[in-house]
Symmetry: D2
Subunit: 100 residues, 4 copies
Amino acid sequence: MTTAKPEHPVTPRTKDEISAITNRLKRVEGQVRGVQKMVEEDRYCIDILVQISAINAALKKVGFSIAERHTKHCVSHAVQSGQGEAAIDELMEVLKQLSK
Amino acid sequence: MTTAKPEHPVTPRTKDEISAITNRLKRVEGQVRGVQKMVEEDRYCIDILVQISAINAALKKVGFSIAERHTKHCVSHAVQSGQGEAAIDELMEVLKQLSK
Amino acid sequence: MTTAKPEHPVTPRTKDEISAITNRLKRVEGQVRGVQKMVEEDRYCIDILVQISAINAALKKVGFSIAERHTKHCVSHAVQSGQGEAAIDELMEVLKQLSK
Amino acid sequence: MTTAKPEHPVTPRTKDEISAITNRLKRVEGQVRGVQKMVEEDRYCIDILVQISAINAALKKVGFSIAERHTKHCVSHAVQSGQGEAAIDELMEVLKQLSK
């Protein structure tokens, strides 16, 4: 049995879910632009680093909420259809990356 | 003696230094927009998480290069003028944040 | 329906699994004692920090392997008996801690 | 000019400094042994992971306090004797490892 890499979540995200995530990512995008401006104005290093840490924290939070939904839908679905192993290996791999 | 919070690095960043950092941040901004698009297209969770991890890694790298320059200029300058303690406390505090 | 906090994994660890993990933890314990000795001998800071980083990496690896088995057994079992939500929330919470 | 890798901090740690760090490391060692016992008793995965996260946090804290003292003594001394560059590169390298 082959398992083609999926293109989409097993349960499509609702419009509300999509706009909740994209709103958070737009805020992150704005923060990144804010840091660019700080660098262009040659602002104090520590102030820039505080912003970069905040962006990382925000991104990690988005990442974990996507991972949580993924586990509740895609991974759970895989478990129920007897393909949990591969789905869980894939999840753990990406969480290790995210936790670096 | 009061030490007002500095507005700028003790050695101004050169034009080249500024554009090197802003170029990296523009790439990060592009990556964040890329993730937004992936979410809008309801793409597979793991693929999104791989991208988010990559952005975090890129941001951390920018952060550490800013911290390195900060230590070589601002902190070193503070050390030479007998105000190393406070500068180093400030540096460590922000590096703890960045390392979360 | 109440869900009492479990005392044990849903599938007991085999003797081999237990000794694989405790062996890794004994190595970690040895590394921690090694760092104590380095500090007592007033060894160079950077050498100590390299060892501490190595211990953290080893512990994170053990943590992720425990989390993986947990997901493959306890969480999967919870999913199959319709109690996936709570199990996944609990898993994500602890992975956020581990990733700090 | 050659810079041999140092064996010791530029300012020797006092007895008090040494016992403060080794006490923290002994506590960490005790925690690691505690986790071994939990694994031998086949305790619930999440409870084990919570302990592992706590150990990692404790070790990171020790690491940062060693890094701080290192910067205030060894790195500052290097800066004052015109060898700041190499000392700062070395510091940043190890902090990147610690922050993973």
